[in-house]
Symmetry: C2
């Protein structure tokens, strides 16, 4: 882990393209796959997706909520998935959306971004409701260990817009406040920074100039949520190559459980994104 997450991610995206496959073992998808809605079903699902996408994409994004449903048994499955994904040379972004005040974020940093933790991943998503600066323990842990953080800025869902587009005392929007602050923090690094943001492909361009983040974007909202490869290309047209990680979940996952279906859906999305971006 000598290199920073930003540098490692950019290399990987240049090699394998921008697709990140979400791993969402929800009740609905387990039912569609005709699997039991328990920790064993989650394990089957997660490892089947992993197997089908290995060698095809840069990264996977397990949605922690769907593992957490089964408590410690679900977390054991997540730990196994993380280990096997690393063995398969995939980057793992834990979609956990953790966030608290700074002393508590130290706990989340130890969980997701510390060498030796069973949940240690390449990057974790974080929520800034208690302030971007409250996430400092996550940022420090990421820098110290060659890992990364994606902070929520503008999410793909309609429900989030009112809050994320509220205006702070200086007149800027909340989503721009997050983007600006993350950009400031990234400018300490040479090369691509290790602090990214989550920016939904279903959203209009924010006021912030996206080409100046100096860090990566994690982009949901593609596929089942409505945006396509062209929307991503338009939104990030001025950004450097290898800085946009596009997450597709349901549109790929519902092609399972057969390996062939998952694999083909993954390749189609990868190729569409490669052609557009």
């Amino acid at each position: 882990m000598g290199e920073s997450f930003g540098v490692r991610l950019q290399e990987r995206l240049r090699e394998r393209g921008p697709l990140c496959v979400g791993i969402d073992p929800s009740s609905a998808l387990l039912e569609a796959w005709d699997r039991s809605d328990n920790a064993e079903g989650v394990e089957f699902f997660a490892l089947a997706v992993l197997e089908a996408v290995s060698g095809v994409v840069a990264a996977i994004k397990p949605q922690v909520a769907f593992f957490e449903r089964f408590g410690s048994a679900g977390f054991r499955v997540l730990e196994r998935l993380i280990t096997e994904a690393h063995d398969a040379d995939l980057l793992v972004v834990a979609d956990a959306k953790r966030g608290d005040f700074a002393p508590t974020n130290e706990g989340y940093a130890q969980a997701w971004l510390r060498d030796g933790s069973p949940l240690a991943v390449d990057a974790v998503t974080a929520s800034p409701y208690l302030g971007v600066d409250a996430l400092a323990p996550l940022f420090e842990a990421a820098w110290a260990s060659g890992r990364g953080v994606f902070v929520l800025a503008a999410t793909s869902n309609e429900d989030g817009r009112e809050l994320q587009r509220a205006r702070t005392s200086d007149g800027g929007r909340v989503e721009d406040l997050v983007l600006r602050r993350v950009a400031e923090l990234n400018h300490r690094d040479s090369g691509l920074g290790s602090l990214g943001v989550v920016l939904g492909a279903t959203r209009d361009a924010p006021e912030f100039d996206l080409s100046t983040l100096a860090g990566p974007y994690l982009v949901p909202g593609v596929g089942a949520q409505g945006a396509g490869a062209q929307d991503v290309a338009r939104l990030f047209e001025r950004c450097e190559e290898g800085t946009v990680l596009v997450s597709v979940s349901r549109d790929i996952l519902r092609a399972g459980p057969e390996r062939r279906g998952l694999h083909d859906a993954t390749r189609r999305w990868r190729d569409d994104l490669l052609a557009a971006l």
Copy 2:
């Protein structure tokens, strides 16, 4: 679980007073207690606090981040703490600050608010960065199972103010948007509603009239973070009895590991709060 969380909580607070003891097995506190910083240390810590506060207070509030530090092994400890706390007739509020878009919040609802889940608690804290309405699966699960949700409105830390006091398109602040929306949802219930908010005792009164929430408040910021019993009393002076759950963590926890110290610190805070509120 026939009764709603709101009604159960209010009865409990009237019987035992407003104190909720935070259980925060952080690296710093485990070191202060001269315990190893691992899952065994976390277990010792959590069960020692539980034992010292049983029969004295209404509720405990485990901080999930400090259990999550040890992955599935940490969650096993949390599961044991929840079971033993329920055996000791304590309410458990999981301080998890979970929050995502609605389909994912279904997963968090299954984890924390569904009968039979190993992590099922009386209430869970939730973060509204993706919109209060995105939390609907948590609200629905709470109503269906006699459990509750505390949505972050105005947190106790300085870092959060800029975002939480930003103004939405109708001119109101984000913190007031949360309070208003939770109040609207509570008015479906007779008696105290089961949807609460987190409101730090270190904060100024919001524009929203706190006496109209029709649900409970979870109040951090007391003790080590600077506010005292009188600040709580002032902030909530117009609220009905049994609607304010005051969380104290470090100021009690650093009195450990001896039972006597923990017990005495807990009683002191309980009596101070009872006298003031």
